[in-house]
């Protein structure tokens, strides 16, 4: 039993409002499907966020339709669980996936929480927000019980686990039943492979750069999908890399070295197969960013798909590394007022008074300020 596991395709996402970026997402999806067919797995599992929105552009629907047609011709079934982008948290709403049942797509949802593929159990739960946590735990238990008699068991979820996304998680690792052989996860855009219980828990990550935050993990781990072999005693997982065609560059250049940089980068940009997105941060900007921008645009405008510059003065650069300690507003006010306790008291009382949002208190506040002014004078 060999499975191709992918997730977070986000089809229909028009990054930065660029038509070309939307096409990039389609292209990498189509390549992924071609590669999957070439690998000849027994089935495909898509762990959510196939589309960027629950009402995708027709083009995105068409791309999936054609891809599923090719998989169907190759005799490879696909199981899919809807992710948070695929659904509307609303009564009686349906994910776009249901359009493809005639092409053999098997949707894991309320009506079919699990399927059997030969001797393998494939079950899962669509994305649920944290308020459904209790029901989630209950349903995970039910799935584990239903999977019990099967020789191989796969759990498909589109959720964040605390260990990997500490502040926005819906599940903790220990809440996931340990009895599955493979945990086909989606939602987190990094590539993660871990052992959990008796199996492997893996996030294949997104297939395109959905956010700039993914740049470092893309450089380190690449992007693509997982090929999992469950036939042997120990599961085997192979990461298949599909490099992106369009480069996304992220550079930081001090203003005084701008000329030098422009000279060197022009050649690099010309050599790229696709025009890249260029994020560039120019530091030590002293007076006005407009002329610097004009210069950048003039030199590089035609060579990049989009120029995304940021201009930072020396002071701002320093500002970015501050704010240690409390961000509680009283503490911040107190810190700002420094040693002047009279001023501090005035600031705090004014803050408290005016935070009540009652315009009738304005008089009281101005009286307070005048009084303080008299005292300070």
């Amino acid at each position: 039993m060999r499975i191709a596991h992918l997730a977070d395709s986000h089809l229909g996402f028009r990054q930065y409002g660029l038509y070309e970026r939307e096409e990039d997402f389609y292209a990498i999806f189509e390549e992924t499907v071609e590669r999957i067919i070439a690998e000849r797995p027994d089935c495909v599992i898509h762990a959510g966020d196939l589309f960027e929105r629950s009402q995708p552009p027709t083009k995105a629907l068409r791309v999936v339709q054609q891809a599923l047609g090719r998989l169907d011709n190759a005799g490879i079934p696909i199981y899919a669980v809807p992710g948070n982008h695929d659904i509307l948290i609303r009564r009686n709403s349906l994910p776009p996936h249901i359009l493809y049942d005639y092409l053999g797509m098997k949707i894991i949802g309320g009506r079919n929480p699990w399927y059997t593929h030969g001797e393998t159990f494939i079950g899962g739960i669509p994305y649920r927000s944290k308020i459904y946590h209790a029901a989630m735990i209950e349903d995970l238990g039910r799935l584990a019980a239903a999977a019990e008699p099967f020789r191989k068991r796969i759990l498909v979820l589109h959720q964040a686990i605390e260990t990997y996304l500490p502040f926005e998680y819906e599940l903790r690792l220990e809440e996931i039943p340990p009895s599955f052989d493979y945990y086909a996860m989606g939602h987190i855009h990094k590539r993660i492979v871990e052992t959990h219980g008796q199996g492997i828990l893996a996030y294949p990550g997104s297939s395109e750069l959905w956010s700039m935050d993914e740049l470092s993990s893309y450089k380190r781990d690449g992007k693509g999908f997982n090929l999992v072999d469950l036939e042997h005693d120990r599961q085997e997982l192979v990461k298949i890399d599909l490099p992106l065609h369009r480069e996304i560059l992220d550079e930081t250049i001090p203003l005084e070295r701008l000329e030098e940089y422009l000279d060197s980068i022009v050649e690099r940009l010309r050599a790229l197969p696709e025009r890249p997105i260029l994020n560039v941060k120019i530091t030590d900007v002293k007076e006005g960013s407009a002329p610097v921008y004009a210069k950048l645009e003039h030199a590089l405008g035609d060579l990049v798909l989009q120029l995304r510059p940021r201009f930072v003065s020396a002071e701002e650069e320093n500002l970015e590394s501050v704010t240690e300690g409390s961000l509680e507003i009283h503490a911040v006010i107190a810190k700002r007022c420094g040693d002047d306790s009279a001023l501090c008291e005035l600031a705090l009382s004014l803050f408290d008074l005016l935070s009540r949002g009652d315009s009738e208190l304005l008089e009281e506040a101005s009286a307070m300020a005048e009084e303080a002014q008299r005292r300070l004078a």
């Binding site: 659904i87 948290i89 609303r90 009564r91 009686n92 709403s93 349906l94 994910p95 996936h97 249901i98 949707i107 949802g109 309320g110 009506r111 669509p126 649920r128 308020i131 459904y132 209790a134 029901a135 009283h330 107190a334 810190k335 420094g338 040693d339 002047d340 306790s341 501090c344 008291e345 705090l348």
Partner: protein, 504 residues
């Protein structure tokens, strides 16, 4: 008993304090009576009652004989009792001569009782007489505040209600109350005659004395005198630097630690390195421990008192040590603030009644605390400066007897433990043995009020507080049921939503 009804006649030897009587009727303990003496009408209160039968003496040993006697004699019985003489009706002075034997004992008419208890004058309404519910009981506010008050009762006998009724009454007179709220009961209470001013439980080290700060930092002068010396050195220098504005208040503790680090380097303190390090550690521990209640920018506490309201300091979330420091600090500031006002027209321009809950923790019999000292100071000096104390406790036996004896007024509800009863009696001149015996038999909401605030002791059914108090006992069974039902309802609702959203 009906007013003016003759209950019986005095018998035996009478004194100016007490007289025996017999009766055919059945009065109640605590009931007020009039003795029609030859020199004028005297008011008294029935203290003891006994019921007996001449035909059935106590030396009968066979129940069958009793039955025979009863069959012959019927339900014949007599009532014998004693009356405590409270004073002449006209002057409320103790008569110079005892009532003559055979004097008629009559039910006190409400007019007389109304004149004694029911005059709203400058008083606060506590409730009604237990024995004559139509007679309201007002207590004299000035005498209550200046001569202090103790509210003593077992848990659940209505201490909080009593305090709330008194506070509400004071609000009605536009007076000011300060409550140290140990259980967060009053902080969100609502009164019918005024409002609550919540006061932040924060201490600013700038306003704390060196000893208060040392205590919070766990440096005790008598045990750790070396540490205490270095603490004092660092503190006085830091305070001086603060006053000279060479450091800011936010740097205060940092500066103290820097100073101590400086001492470590000095040759002349070479032998005391351990002590200096200990002081430094204790300051750090202190900062961590009291992070919640230390506020370097906090206002002086007495400036935040609002007259005409119930000011509440919520101590529900702080430990006993911190409560001790907060209370003693506040008492010190209030007493000095009032003294300043009386002398120089600065400071706190209004008198106030300070309610101390759990007084046996703040002023315990066996330990010495800072609050204990300041409670006794306020108790002694407060009357001259218009600072009244109201000590509330359910455990009078562990309350400092000196503090308790300074509370000239008492409102005592049900107290069962003999030790508590004795302790209360020894602290109060006006609580007789017989009244004491009543304490165990009081019902919830009933109390004995004694002291200068009431002309004569009274058994009072305290009014039910008409505002809203948080607290009281939790309905455990109800809460359990609600918790489970809430969970089930929540679960069912979520299940329904999931069913509707994942119907594919």
């Amino acid at each position: 008993m009906n007013a003016g009804e003759v209950l019986g006649r005095c018998i035996g030897e009478a004194t100016t304090e007490r007289v025996q009587f017999v009766s055919k009727k059945m009065p109640r303990i605590g009931e007020f009576v009039i003795l029609e003496c030859d020199f004028g009408a005297v008011l008294g209160m029935i203290e003891t009652l006994a019921r007996g039968s001449v035909a059935i003496p106590e030396d009968i040993f066979d129940p069958a004989s009793v039955e025979k006697i009863r069959a012959m004699e019927g339900d014949e019985y007599y009532i014998q009792g004693s009356v405590r003489i409270l004073g002449e009706v006209e002057s409320m002075k103790i008569p110079r001569t005892p009532p003559p034997p055979g004097t008629r004992v009559m039910c006190a008419p409400p007019v007389v009782l109304m004149r004694i208890f029911g005059d709203p004058g400058n008083g606060i309404r506590l409730g009604t007489l237990v024995t004559q519910p139509e007679v309201p009981v007002y207590v004299h506010t000035n005498r209550m505040v200046t001569r202090h008050l103790a509210v003593l009762a077992m848990t659940g006998a209505g201490k909080s209600n009593t305090v709330a009724v008194i506070a509400d009454g004071i609000l009605g007179m536009r007076g000011t109350v300060l409550i140290f709220d140990m259980h967060s009961e009053y902080i969100s209470a609502s009164f019918t005659s005024g409002r609550v001013t919540p006061m932040r439980t924060v201490l600013n080290p700038k306003h704390l004395s060196q000893t208060e700060l040392a205590k919070l930092a766990n440096i005790h002068g008598e045990r750790a005198y070396v540490q205490s010396r270095y603490f004092r050195m660092a503190y006085t220098t830091a305070i001086r630097d603060l006053q000279e504005n060479t450091i800011g208040i936010s740097e205060f503790f940092m500066h103290m630690k820097d100073l101590l680090d400086g001492y470590l380097e000095e040759e002349r303190f070479r032998d005391d390195k351990t002590a200096i390090n200990a002081v430094r550690n204790k300051i750090e521990e202190f900062e961590e421990r009291y992070e919640q209640i230390i506020d370097l920018t906090g206002r002086e506490f007495s400036e935040s008192l609002v007259p005409g309201t119930v000011n509440v300091i919520d101590l529900g979330a702080v430990d006993e040590d911190a409560a001790d420091v907060i209370v003693s600090h506040a008492l010190r500031k209030i007493l000095t603030g009032r003294k300043q006002y009386i002398r120089k027209r600065e400071g706190i321009p209004f008198p106030l009644l300070i309610v101390l809950e759990e007084a046996h923790i703040l002023s315990p019999k066996t330990r010495s605390t800072d609050s204990k000292y300041w409670i006794s100071r306020v108790a002694r000096e407060g009357r001259k400066f218009g600072v009244g104390l109201c000590l509330v406790s359910q455990s009078p036996k562990s309350l400092d007897p000196d503090s308790l004896s300074q509370m000239n007024n008492m409102i005592i509800s049900r107290l069962i433990q003999p030790e508590d009863q004795r302790h209360v009696q020894s602290a109060s001149e006006s609580l007789s043995e017989d009244l004491l015996a009543q304490l165990a038999s009081l019902n919830i909401g009933e109390a004995i009020a004694i002291g200068p605030m009431t002309k004569i002791p009274a058994l009072v059914k305290i009014d039910e507080f008409r505002g809203r108090l948080v607290g009281g006992d939790i309905d455990v069974v109800g809460e359990w049921r609600r918790a489970v039902e809430g969970r089930e309802q929540e679960r069912d609702a979520r299940r329904r939503e999931i069913g509707q959203m994942e119907d594919y």
